[in-house]
Amino acid sequence: MLSSRYARIALFGAAVVLVQVATQLGGKPFFLTQLTMSAYYTLVAVGLSLLMGYAGQISLGHAAFFAIGGYASGYLTTFDLSPLREEGLVALLGRAGLLVDRADLYGGQTLAVHPWAAFAVAIVLSLAIAWAIGVPVLKLKGHYLAMATLGFGTIVYSVVLGTARFGAADGLSSVPPFPLVAGLAVSGARADRVSNYYVAWGLVALGLMLLVNLVESRVGRALRAIHGAEDAAGSMGVDVARFKLKTFVLSAVLAAVGGSFLTHFNGGIGPGEAAVMKSVRYVAIVAVGGMGSLWGTVATSVALNFLSLRGYFGTLDDAVFGVVLLVVMLTSPDGILRLDPRVPVKALLARLRKPNRPEEAP
């Protein structure tokens, strides 16, 4: 069991290496930039895929968590604390080694929070917010759930857009690289391109492992077998609400991690990352890749994000995602690229056993 669970991920790792070598040999090493950016967006998508597929919850505000992670990291690592250097709390943090003094590009000095500390804050913040939002939101159903998540996303967008500290409409810039371990840093410098590619996709692999664990847990398997008939699951002692909350929080934290890392990679972040259209894009990717199908989602996310970031869709970027979303939902609502054949079979069996699924419209 263990080996098969992780065998897929090992194969995935091999594919990642293959792609990198191919770009090198093919003379297009610069593709790695867009592939790395796509990886961080994929972190959001896979978490969302699980949420929509296994917990049956739509989230139209997941971009907000990406933004929370990105802005937390970005703000803390760029806010200059030099004027307060001797003040109580700042001095304390300095002695604890949580601050870092660095020279910026133009010869000035900045005293700011160390990227690791900022990253920790990003995780804790997204976890806390996801928990706080998740509890009331996940009690809602259907349209109400959709609108509540949309509303949450809109509020986060308004906050990052409207707050001067966060750069308002200009966003944050001059975000420093994130030194992970000796010699390895998340940064957009050309020299670090290959290492960053592996960092990003390594992170995705890690995220996938966490998600697969959740899916293969007792609750996850139970839910899959009953294919979302929650009342039945509940009556059998499965704590559905807790599973949903866990999935929601995990997907939110993954999104925040993606946001944090991408902000260091790009050297900045803008309020557009929290916008509704971004959330819709993630939903579109999950819809095509297959709700609950992690590998389908990965494939779709890479394809669509890569093409979008290289400008292939030109001015029709949003339209492409909208059309894709529409076509998929009309024709194959469970997603086109279901690579895991077991689930539809079980779904079919479940459907045959229970012809009137309770979550359908009246």
Partner: protein
């Protein structure tokens, strides 16, 4: 026989050298928000660049090389700006980049450009683009600070003591608000009410009512989207007859048209491109603005705006630098840095190693709306 071989060889050589003389095109990149929320900035800029490149190529290009323009539509999104900047620098290996159109995007790629030692001439206006100065980053849009100062001067002339400030939550609005707040006290003026509204706001009656309640002598609105027209309409509709000032973001005649009768008498600073016809023949900018205006309006059948003018200035400056320094990027950079007296649509540029913007307050003229047209104030 030998002579024949010699003649053939000479012919062969000259044929080879003739084709060698046809040099590779000069790639210039453009990062512009051609579509999306900032399209009113990026679209005219893209059109202007295309028009100018065509014109230059018809005259033989620069230094015997045709210009190849590579335009990337960022749709106003900073992530795309970052991705495309890297593409332009590493893959396309462009000689220089013109744009972006918005300050937000420019700030996001400033570090990338500087580290890669690429050359960037931005069409955006934020002070942070050129302060602190990055050696390879320039811009061509006049500073908000000067626009604010022009407005303060006019306010004082009109005896205004306290005014109400309205600004939008875009980069432009926030930057302007900052400059106004900084400069008002020094100018002896009080900001009695200070409201920020959402850029997509469709009705600002409540905001102007708040200003009315504060008893202001004048209203200053700093934004760049349709809200500019809505504000003045709402203000007049609730019976406010006090003077209304706008930022230089108002310098696009379609806003005056949209606001109709409410735009009459509104005062704002702007580059002289929008009143090109009214400029006296002896004005140093007359030739340049008329050339740009007639070419653009003939080709695209729409009114010129200051935004398109930025793209014109950026490319012209680049071309002039290349003509004097050749095709070595560092030499061109130095050439721009030392360029003096370049007449553009936005004003007369005088660059220096500490001033990568090149414009002073004289770039602005104070304009107003009369009978639905832009005219110089005081005429």
């Amino acid at each position: 026989m030998k002579k024949l071989v010699l003649a053939a060889a000479v012919l062969g050589f000259s044929a080879l050298s003739a084709s060698a003389v046809e040099k590779a095109p000069l790639k210039i990149g453009a990062l512009l928000a051609v579509t999306g929320p900032a399209a009113f900035l990026g679209a005219p800029e893209a059109r202007t660049l295309e028009m100018l490149v065509e014109e230059l190529n018809a005259k033989g290009g620069i230094d015997g090389r045709k210009i190849q323009l590579v335009v990337k539509d960022t749709t106003g999104s900073p992530e795309k700006a970052v991705s495309f900047a890297k593409q332009l620098i590493e893959e396309e290996q462009v000689f220089a980049i013109i744009g972006p159109a918005t300050s937000g995007e420019t700030l996001q790629i400033k570090a990338i450009v500087e580290e890669a030692k690429a050359l960037l001439i931005s069409c955006a206006a934020a002070e942070k683009i050129v302060d602190p100065v990055a050696a390879h980053v320039f811009n061509v849009a006049p500073k908000d600070r000067y626009a604010a100062e022009m407005i303060f001067r006019q306010m004082k002339k009109m005896g205004v003591k306290k005014f109400g400030l309205l600004s939008s939550n875009t980069g432009f609005g926030t930057a302007g608000k900052e400059q106004v707040e900084k400069g008002a006290a020094a100018a002896g003026l009080e900001i009695a009410a200070n409201e920020v509204y959402d850029k997509a706001a469709t009705d600002l009656t409540a905001e102007v009512t708040k200003l009315k309640a504060a008893g202001v002598d004048a209203i200053l609105n700093w934004s760049i989207e349709p809200a500019q027209a809505i504000v003045i309409k709402n203000a007049r509709q609730i019976g406010l007859t006090i003077p209304i000032f706008q930022s230089h973001g108002f310098a696009n005649i379609q806003y005056a048209r949209t606001a109709g009768a409410a735009a009459e008498g509104v005062m704002f600073p702007a580059s002289r491109i929008v009143v090109a016809d009214a400029l006296p023949a002896k004005h140093p900018q007359k030739a340049v603005v008329m050339a740009y205006k007639s070419a653009y309006e003939k080709k695209y059948k729409e009114d010129v705006s200051t935004f398109g003018g930025h793209a014109w200035d950026a490319l012209q400056i680049l071309v002039r630098a290349v003509q004097s320094a050749g095709l070595d990027r560092e030499k061109v950079r130095t050439a721009i840095e030392n360029m003096k007296g370049h007449v553009g649509t936005a004003g007369v540029f005088n660059y220096s190693p500490t001033d990568h913007n090149g414009l002073t307050i004289d770039a602005f003229a104070m304009l107003t709306v009369k009978d639905g047209k832009f005219v110089m104030l005081g005429e």
